[in-house]
Structures are given as structure tokens and as C-alpha cells.
């Protein structure tokens, strides 16, 4: 039995202007789970990409199974038994599950891909590890949790004995996340070693054997779950103490701001995704929408914000009927929207921060008048957003694509909060960002509430809902199964509702 499954020895990786990994050493032994922690941009993804052969290190060594190796590419790593589940899924959406799993290592028969054989092996693997998938489903039709199973199966199919997972739980529901952790535990019993990146300290403490914390490219601490606490880890990551619980006063609900009546909305494929939802959000309260992803949250938010057409029902903001109005009309009625998918909807990557800071209000004074943009005004506006919302950037003229995920999110939040809003629709506002930034954004959301805005918060993160919401609405299969007051909304109770169990 090998002693060291995988290790980095003094690995250094330089990007233009950034030392992403600085003399980093980590070790993984068979049957163990190594958790990598660190704030956004700390160098976690870079490190695992180096270990997987995606990047070549500028210095240091990689050791796989007690042997110093020189990885020329991912195929090198794969052939040595390393499997990786990337932060952004590396799946081909219009292809089948089975095709995705065998891609690059296809079984063949008479020169053609032997899909029957592949299907057999996929079914075999998925029953063995409790990762059920429909091998013939198109990946684009699958919810994220399923897609992740496909990713893991992809690695297992290649007989990986090292599994690297970059933020695998970021998009999962608590149940899915728990299931994943159990699967991972099960895998270690067969001798597989796992590298696990996450921003969720609870998960780290629950599952890791070893914990390594990175900051600014360097290892700043190595510990184990029994010696660590959540707040200790958080402080190690960020370099200062972090308030993990959201401090907030009791809500002072006012008039109804958002009124949704019997709304029905179809998804991209024309299936009914929101099935007769009725909901009210009052000024000065936060209503959290909990639910397993794919139960209609996205369509609900998109219908409310005008991105999607509702097939029936009604929606009003501040008493004004706005069903199926344009995004612009809705925004003009005081609605701020932090979209779920920031890369897709929230920013234009090639635009400067300045242009992004007025993305949905460039047409209004003072940013433009009579069809002419006022560049100085926009520039100053962007400066103030950057300062107030602590967006880390060299200047507001650089392209938004150069920002880290957390900073992109802060830019969007800053943009949406830069005007007085009556209603804030925040979808997955902290997905994939680090504790420090989460704390910041949470504080800002509560601030908006206290200024009298109505907040509709949609999150797959149950903890986020429970700590922010004054009322919790649970969506299941497109229907609103219940609305609970915060004081009775426990993890267990909401979790059961999310699974569709109403009694």
C-alpha cells in the first residue's frame, strides 16, 4: 500500500501579477479526506489544478503514489488515477450522461463507441456508490445535483483513487450535500483519498481528516477537525475575526410590497415550473424561499423580475399590477435584482466595471440624457460603488472579467443597492463566495430591510435562509408548500418540507 497518494511539495504558481501559490505543501494519504479552505482568490483552485496537471507549476514538485511526477496535462493525471470534479462543471450539456462519463476513455466495438457496454458500466458504478443517474438523460436536462453525480461517476469510471472536488457542495441542497458527504465517506473506505475544497466550515468539520488553510497563496495553517472550531477556521482564512451569525433586529413589517397571486410559469422546455404560487412580501421583512434547486425558484424569480413570461396569474409591486411587464418597467418600480447566475445575467465580462455599474440604468439620468451617455458621471458612480462595497480592483476601467467571483458579486450588489429600492430580489446572493464577503453581503441585505425595503431571498443555502429570513417559504415541485415564521422554521422542519413531506 502506498503511503502518500498525492502531495504537493513547495509548489509555486505565478500568474501575471498574482502569485497564486507560494511555496505550498500539502499531503494526502489513502482513505483520508483533505479539506482546503481559504477565501476567494486564496489559491485553492490553482493548487488543485496544478495537482491535476491543468497548470504547470513554476516551482516545486508533485508526488503521486510516492513518485515524483511531471504532469504534462490532465490525461497524465487521469492515467495515474487522479480524478477531479471542477468548480464549474466540465460536462457537455447536449450530450447524454453516459457519453459524458466515458468521454475520453470510450469503450469501443468494431471501431464505434460501444454505448451498451458503457451504459452497463455506468449503472454498475452508480449502484455500487449510491449515485443513481439515468444514463440516457441529456446532461442539460439534469438538475445540478445530478450533474455533480455525473462528474463524480466520470472520475470513478476512470478508476480514480484520488478524487479532487472543487467546491462540490456550493450548488447542492442540504440533503444533497449530506448525501454527497456520505458518498465521499464511503469512498474513503475503499482506500480512495479525497481533496475537498469548500467555503462551508460545517462541512469541513463534519467530514475532513486534515484541514489546510490557504491565504494569499500561502499555507497559513494546518489542523484537524477535533482541534478546530468554526470561528477559529474563519479567522485563520480571513485574517481577522468574522461574525458568523447575522446580527439583526426583529422585523418591522409594513405594507405589502410584492404581491404574487396564483402565478404559473413555464421553464425553458415549456413544462410548468411554477404552479400557482401566491406570496406576499412586506416592506421591512425578508422572505426566504427555500427549496431544492429545480423546484421552480429560478422561474419564479425570473417571472417576478420580468426576465420570463408568466403563463397565468398576477403580480403587483407596491400595488401596481406588473404581470409580464418588461425588466425595465419592473426595475423602474423600485426593484433591485441580484440574479442567480452572475456570469450569465449579472455582468458583461468584456465591459469595464464602470459600464457594468450602470448595466440596467444606463438609460436614466444622470448616467445619460437624450440618448448620450455621460462617461464622467458613470465613472464617478462606479468609483463610489467600488469604494462603498469594497470591490477589490485596480481601477473601474478594467474589464469585469478580471474580477474574482466574490468581487463580481459585490459589484452587482453595489449596483443594485445604489438606489433606493422598494423590493430586492436576491437569488443565491452569496453562492461561491468566501466567508468574509458573505458576511458583508448579508449585512447589506439586512440594512436594506431595515431601511424599509421588502426582500425576497432565494437561496439553496438553508443556513443562509435560516439566518436571514423573517419568514420562510418552501417551494416544492413548483408549489408553495408552506410559509413559516422564522421562529418555527428549524433546519429539520424546512428540510422535510423541501423534500415535499408536509406532515
Amino acid at each position: 500500500m502506498t503511503d502518500l497518494l498525492l502531495a504537493a511539495r513547495n509548489v509555486t504558481k505565478q500568474f501575471p501579477g498574482v502569485l497564486a501559490n507560494d511555496d505550498v505543501s500539502v499531503e494526502l494519504k489513502p482513505g483520508r479526506i483533505l479539506a482546503l479552505l481559504g477565501e476567494n482568490g486564496a489559491g485553492k483552485s490553482t493548487l488543485v489544478n496544478v495537482l491535476f496537471g491543468m497548470y504547470r507549476p513554476d516551482g516545486g514538485q508533485i508526488i503521486i503514489k510516492d513518485e515524483v511526477v511531471d504532469l504534462r496535462g490532465p490525461d497524465d493525471a487521469i492515467s495515474r488515477g487522479i480524478g477531479m470534479v471542477h468548480q464549474h462543471f466540465q460536462l457537455v450539456p447536449p450530450m447524454r450522461v453516459v457519453e459524458n462519463i466515458v468521454l475520453g476513455a470510450e469503450p469501443t466495438k468494431r471501431g464505434l463507441v460501444d454505448l451498451d457496454e458503457a451504459r452497463l458500466r455506468v449503472v454498475e458504478l452508480s449502484t455500487k456508490y449510491g449515485l443513481e443517474v439515468d444514463p440516457d438523460a441529456l446532461v442539460e436536462d439534469l438538475p445540478v445535483g445530478m450533474q455533480q453525480r455525473v462528474e463524480i461517476l466520470k472520475a470513478l469510471y476512470r478508476n480514480a483513487d484520488v478524487l479532487i472536488l472543487d467546491e462540490p457542495t456550493g450548488v447542492l441542497t442540504p440533503q444533497e450535500a449530506d448525501h454527497l458527504l456520505r458518498v465521499l465517506r464511503g469512498l474513503t473506505e475503499t482506500g480512495v483519498g479525497i481533496v475537498f475544497i469548500t467555503h462551508k466550515l460545517r462541512e469541513v468539520l463534519a467530514i475532513a481528516d486534515d484541514i489546510v488553510v490557504l491565504r494569499e497563496g500561502r499555507v497559513v495553517g494546518t489542523t484537524t477537525p477535533d482541534q478546530a472550531t468554526e470561528s477559529g477556521l474563519a479567522e485563520m482564512m480571513v485574517g481577522r475575526s468574522v461574525v458568523l451569525r447575522v446580527e439583526k433586529q426583529a422585523a418591522q413589517p409594513g405594507d405589502v410590497v410584492l404581491q404574487v397571486d396564483d402565478l404559473k410559469v413555464n421553464d425553458d422546455r415549456g413544462q410548468l415550473a411554477v404552479d400557482g404560487v401566491s406570496l406576499q412580501v412586506r416592506a421591512g421583512e425578508i422572505v426566504g424561499v427555500a427549496g431544492v434547486e429545480g423546484n421552480g425558484q429560478r422561474e419564479l424569480v425570473e417571472a417576478i423580475t420580468g426576465l420570463r413570461h408568466a403563463s397565468s396569474g398576477a403580480m403587483a409591486i407596491g400595488g401596481k399590477p406588473l404581470t409580464n411587464s418588461s425588466t425595465r418597467q419592473i426595475a423602474a418600480n423600485g426593484v433591485g435584482h441580484i440574479p442567480e447566475d452572475r456570469e450569465k445575467h449579472g455582468i458583461i465580462a468584456a465591459y469595464s466595471l464602470a459600464e457594468n455599474s450602470v448595466l440596467n440604468r444606463y438609460h436614466r439620468t444622470p448616467f445619460s440624457s437624450r440618448g448620450i451617455m455621460h462617461r464622467e458621471v458613470i465613472y464617478e458612480h462606479a468609483q463610489s460603488v467600488v469604494e462603498e462595497f469594497d470591490v477589490r480592483t485596480p481601477s473601474v476601467t478594467v474589464a469585469a472579467s478580471s474580477l474574482s467571483g466574490g468581487n463580481k458579486q459585490k459589484l452587482i450588489v453595489g449596483r443594485e443597492f445604489s438606489e433606493n429600492i422598494k423590493l430586492l430580489v436576491a437569488a443565491q446572493p452569496t453562492r461561491g463566495i468566501d466567508i468574509g464577503a458573505i458576511e458583508f453581503i448579508h449585512r447589506r441585505i439586512v440594512e436594506q430591510r431595515d431601511k424599509g425595503a421588502a426582500v425576497l431571498l432565494v437561496s439553496a443555502e438553508l443556513d443562509e435562509i435560516l439566518s436571514l429570513a423573517d419568514r420562510v417559504a418552501v417551494l416544492y415541485d413548483g408549489k408553495l408548500v408552506d410559509v413559516l415564521d422564522a421562529n418555527v422554521a428549524t433546519r429539520e422542519r424546512v428540510g422535510l418540507l423541501m423534500a415535499g413531506i408536509t406532515d
Partner: protein, 330 residues
Amino acid sequence: MKARQRQLLWIAVVLIVVLACSFYSANGPQTTAVLAGTVRAATLLTLGALCGMIGERSGVVNIGIEGQFLMSAFFAFTVTSITGSLFMGAMAGIATGLTMGWMLAAMAVGLKVDQIIAGTVLNIGALGLTSFFYDGSRSLGVGKYTNIDLGSLADLPLVGTVFFSRPPITYLTMVLLVVVHVALFRSVWGMRTRAIGEHPGAADTVGIDVLRLRYINVTLAGGFAGLGGSYLALEAVGTFSRGMSGGRGFLALAVMIFGRRSPFGAYAAALFFGFTTALQNHFQLNSVFDIPPQFVGMLPFVVTIIVVALSGLMGSMRDPAALGQTYEKG
């Protein structure tokens, strides 16, 4: 939706067969002429579409098909004229196509030149070079490829002439259709090709060398356009003349998109286009309508626009996600 499409397809096929038979019984020679013209006009478009399709499936736009046709036709013609061998000429055409494909790959994949620019370079360069070097005193000398009858099949009424009495490159094209279909949708190569066109990053992480595969595919695809050029000079026309591709490379691009980037789809689209062309000739030859040729001539184009718009309404098709983008590793 899939089932509905299949249903529509069958209805269309049955309708076509019924119509063809009834027209045939009304006027045999004219019906045969129109349908034979249809199949004939489809060959070049299909070859161009196959070339474009393999590129686009791999994520590389090829708007240089026109130039690839023209250059290959030029060399197919010149080599035949020198060697006196149609086969050598056809090979030269294919080799030229491969070379043009390689040049496109070298620019668009290797040098990461914008794909549309790379294709445009091929188009202008081919038009310029072939016109510059064309020697009007040359001729093919040996006569062009002639029809080969497939035994007694060729004697069948209607289909005999339409499908079974054809010159060699036309038969080859029909074979290639099947080959490309199987390769694209069933083979390892095809699966990887589709993957690099949709999500090169995903392909990269499972160890597929995206740039290398694109390089190979774009080069290979050029071979189809090269065969198209050989077809043009050696089978369709039997000589070379300046600019003889006449925009058909662009039409092939349209046919490929219209055929949803699948070989049989493209063939159906090419047949459809060929049919409108043959029909328009039919109208003129037989003075069916007394309207100016300029209006009859619009028929294929107007009908194509209408059909493309309608089929868009029926369910829009999606381009490969990574189409047109240069892939940067990491």
C-alpha cells in the same frame, strides 16, 4: 418534440414520393429532368456542407468554403490537364482542399486568428490566385467524369436516372454522407469532436487535446471541400473558369446551418435547394409562367428564407456552444 419531428419527416417523405409519382405519370421526361437536376445540384452543396459541418461541430466556423472550392477546382483542373488523368486531378483537388483546410486550421487554431478573418483570407486569396495563374489555353483534354450505370437499377423508371446513373464523385458523396453520419454520431472521433465544439474545457479535462483535434478536423474537413472542387471542375463542368464556384460555398454554409449540422439534414437541405433550382429551370424551359427570368430566379432564395424562418418558428436550433471561439487552455 423528437417524435413529432420524426412524424413530420415521414409525412414529408410520403408526400414527396406521392407527388413525384403523380407528376411522373403526367409527364415522365420533365419529372425525371427536374428530379435528376435536383440531385445533381445537391452534390456540391452537400460536400461543402460536410466540410463546414465538421469544422463547426469542432467549434471552428469555416466561411472559406467558397475559396476552398475554387482553389481545389483550379488544381483538379490543372493537374488533370497536365497528367491527362481525371483520377490524378481529383486527388489533386482533394489534396488542395486538405491544404486549404490546413491553412485555415493553422490560422484559426494555431495562430488563433479570428475564424471569420481566416476564412475570408482563404476566399480572397483563392479568388486572386486562381484568376492570376489561370491559363486560358489549357483544357481538360480527357473529357469529364461520365455517368456510371449501377446495373439494372439504372433502368428503373425515374429513380434509375435520378439515383442510379450518376458520375463517380456523386456516388462517393452519397457514401461519404453515411460515413460522416456514422463517424460523427457513433465513433470515438465523432463523440470527441462534438465535445470540443460544445465544451472544449470539458474535453480538455478528460485528456482530449482540443487544439490538436480541431487542427486535424479542420484540415480533414478541407478534403470534403477539395472533393467538391474536383467535382466542380471534373464532374459537373469539365473545365475551369474564373470564379466558377459562384457563391456556392456560401450557399453550402447556409445549407449546413439549415440542415442542423447533421449530414442527412444537410443533404435534405441541399436537395431542397437543388429542387427549387431545378424547378426554376423547368419553369423557364417549358415557359410554365410568363414572368421574367429575374423573378423566376429568385425562387430558390425566397423559398429558402421562408423555410428557414418557418423552421425557426417550429423550434430553433442551437449553434455549438463554443462555435467561433478560440480555445485557450486552462
